[in-house]
């Protein structure tokens, strides 16, 4: 009896070992393949950006060497200087920065107020209003573009930065801004209710609870909103294109487009690709700095809402 069980046990052991070995080979093979594929995709993701930087450092007329040249020869750092000197790039940079910062500030302040109202207070029609808020996310921005243009024209706001800033101070009431209310509300719902109930018993007003308890605790969601919002405004093209005409308030996005339009029209030989790429790099740098310094908020924000800032 004992012997039989021992034999069968040994037999099983041998076949298991063989199977384990085969499985192991497969796992190693799969791993190697996986790493190779990931590496390839990573290279494809970064290649265009690397090319952009490389081109921005090439000498004029030498942007399309054959065979392709990754490290420019000579390296012309002066392209960046030229890009700033030959245009009002600094001014456009400042315009974009001001618009993005003010719009982001409005978004975070007003969205957090509205989010608190939806997360913690009870009032008539709350559920219906929240559903309406969410459904505005599905409304194509374009449907309201013509009338908002008319509205801002009537107000005399065309060609001023106001149409790009003011709507964002109304708690996601404009152009898909409901996303931020949703993000902050989702976060606030996760916070323990005991905190504000305790404060309420102690006689704190709702505004005080919002300001002193909920806002400090919601920092990750506020940070995520601020980052998404800033990048959205920094990259925004359709709204500046519609509401700004003159050079005075031109944003970087508008300038790049204008540059491409005037340069590329002049025949391939005359296009100053290097300067265009230098200006593009200038536009990308703030976004990259923010991304790398606040990456965890990004990832969390995307995972929390399932939608990224647009």
């Amino acid at each position: 009896m004992r012997r039989i069980s021992q034999i069968s046990f040994q037999a099983a052991d041998a076949s298991t070992r063989q199977r384990t070995l085969r499985a192991y080979v497969w796992i190693v093979f799969g791993r190697l393949f996986g790493y190779a594929a990931l590496l390839l995709v990573a290279v494809i993701s970064l290649l265009p950006l690397a090319w952009m930087v490389s081109t921005s450092l090439k000498a004029f007329g030498r942007e399309f060497p054959f065979p392709p040249q990754w490290i420019p020869n000579p390296v012309v750092f002066g392209n960046y200087l030229t890009a700033f000197e030959t245009s009002n790039l600094a001014r456009y940079f400042g315009n974009t920065l001001m618009i993005s910062v003010l719009a982001t500030l409005g978004t975070v302040i007003s969205s957090s107020l509205v989010a608190f109202g939806f997360a913690r207070l009870e009032f008539f029609g709350k559920r219906v209003l929240f559903i309406i808020l969410l459904s505005t996310l599905m409304l194509p921005v374009i449907v309201t573009l013509v009338p908002t243009f008319v509205l801002f024209k009537t107000l005399g706001w065309i060609d001023t930065p106001l149409p790009l800033i003011v709507p964002w101070w109304f708690g996601g009431g404009a152009f898909g801004g409901a996303f931020f209310v949703f993000l902050i509300r989702q976060f606030m719902l996760q916070l323990p209710r005991e905190l504000d109930e305790a404060a309420l018993v102690d006689g704190a007003s709702y505004f005080r609870i919002y300001w002193r308890i909920m806002l400090p605790l919601s920092k990750p969601a506020l940070a995520a909103s601020a980052i998404f919002s800033f990048i959205h405004h920094w990259n925004d093209f359709l709204n500046p294109l519609t509401f700004l005409n003159s050079e005075e308030w031109r944003t970087l996005a508008l300038y790049l487009r204008f540059f491409l339009y005037t340069e590329a029209g002049g025949g391939a030989g005359l296009t100053r690709w290097n300067l265009m790429m230098a200006a593009s790099v200038v536009m990308l740098v703030p976004v990259l700095v923010i991304f790398f310094s606040a990456q965890r908020y990004f990832i969390r924000g995307v995972a929390l809402t399932g939608i990224a800032g647009r």
């Binding site: 573009l145 990259n235 976004v287």
Partner: protein, 316 residues
């Protein structure tokens, strides 16, 4: 002061600002008031006004001329060849962009989920292009898609031995659209992150159970991963369809609808009609048709979702 402020009576009994409302309800209303104001002024008002404008002939400066449904009749009876072209182009783009993005991000997220080392670095690499969307990216890709640009440099590695050269992407009516679609695949990062979060939420015991039942690699993907990922697939495809029907920036900057309207998207036509030709009525009608198209596809997706999306904890 804080002590003096302590109310003897519950706050609910403070005299209401709005008759019939408790102080708490009033406060709740005050908190959402900024949104409500913005909603009425910047969304709801313009939404209905644009429908009104779409029933008129209005060049923005002169008088408004009532037309009724004329614009819609013209659009829906395919009397405007440019609109037909724009609908065709946009559908073409959506049909390749959305499934392509879903498939690519699904594969990348799956690869990333295999407990690889340095997952954060890879995730950064894949997500980076997504935050750089906008004009800078468009300018970059205008350059990448040149006849002697980066993409053709890359393709030449494979095409040169065959004696063929890469297409003139932006100059050809048949290659401009594929060029834009390839460009759009560059920004799969957001979808990828949503998928990655989904992958990480799949309970390990399901895979173990499948293994015990003798499932191989494909069996596990088919019977565990895909069913468990359906909520994420659904979400990203809804967002993808809504977003890609409104494709605009890249097309305006890179091709401006050309060559020969080969990349004229609905939004681009709308923009040209509204803000270059100042035909506000017609532009608004296009906007509404686009809105209805998007609404239609969103509703279809939601209805079909009942058949194929699996939410854990919710039983049919």
């Amino acid at each position: 002061m804080a002590i003096a402020d302590q109310p003897d009576v519950p706050r609910a009994r403070r005299r209401p600002l709005i008759p019939g409302w408790t102080w708490r309800e009033t406060q709740g209303f005050l908190f959402i008031l900024p949104w409500l104001f913005g909603f009425v002024v910047f969304i709801a008002g313009p939404f209905f006004f644009s429908f009104f404008v779409s029933l008129t002939e209005w060049s923005f400066i002169g008088d408004i001329k009532w037309l009724g449904l004329d614009h819609y009749v013209r659009l829906l009876s395919a009397n405007d060849p440019r609109f037909v072209q724009a609908v065709y182009n946009t559908t073409y783009y959506v049909a390749f962009h959305v499934p392509g993005v879903l498939l690519i991000s699904f594969i990348i997220a799956g690869l990333l989920n295999q407990k690889v080392r340095g997952i954060a670095i890879y995730r950064t690499c894949f997500y980076l292009p997504s935050i750089t969307t906008g004009v800078a990216t468009a300018v970059l890709w205008f350059w990448v898609l040149q006849p002697n640009g980066l993409l053709n440099n890359f393709l030449d590695i494979f095409l040169e031995p065959l004696g063929v050269s890469g297409p003139n992407w932006l100059g050809s009516t048949s290659w401009a659209m594929p060029g834009l679609i390839i460009m759009s695949f560059w920004t799969v990062g957001t979808t990828m992150i949503i998928f990655l979060a989904g992958f990480q939420g799949i309970p390990q015991h399901l895979y173990e159970a499948a293994e015990i039942d003798g499932a191989g690699w494909w069996g596990k993907v088919r019977n565990v991963t895909i069913p468990m990922m359906t909520p994420q697939i659904f979400l990203t495809s809804v967002i993808g369809v809504i977003g890609s029907f409104q494709v605009f920036t890249a097309a305006l900057i890179i091709t401006d609808g050309g060559p020969a309207d080969a990349t004229l998207f609905i939004l681009l036509l709308l923009y040209q009609m509204g803000f270059r030709a100042f035909n506000m009525g017609y532009a608004s009608a296009i906007a509404w048709v686009l809105f209805l198209i998007i609404l239609f596809f969103t509703i279809v997706q939601f209805i079909s979702a009942r058949r194929w999306v699996y939410y854990e904890g919710v039983r049919a």
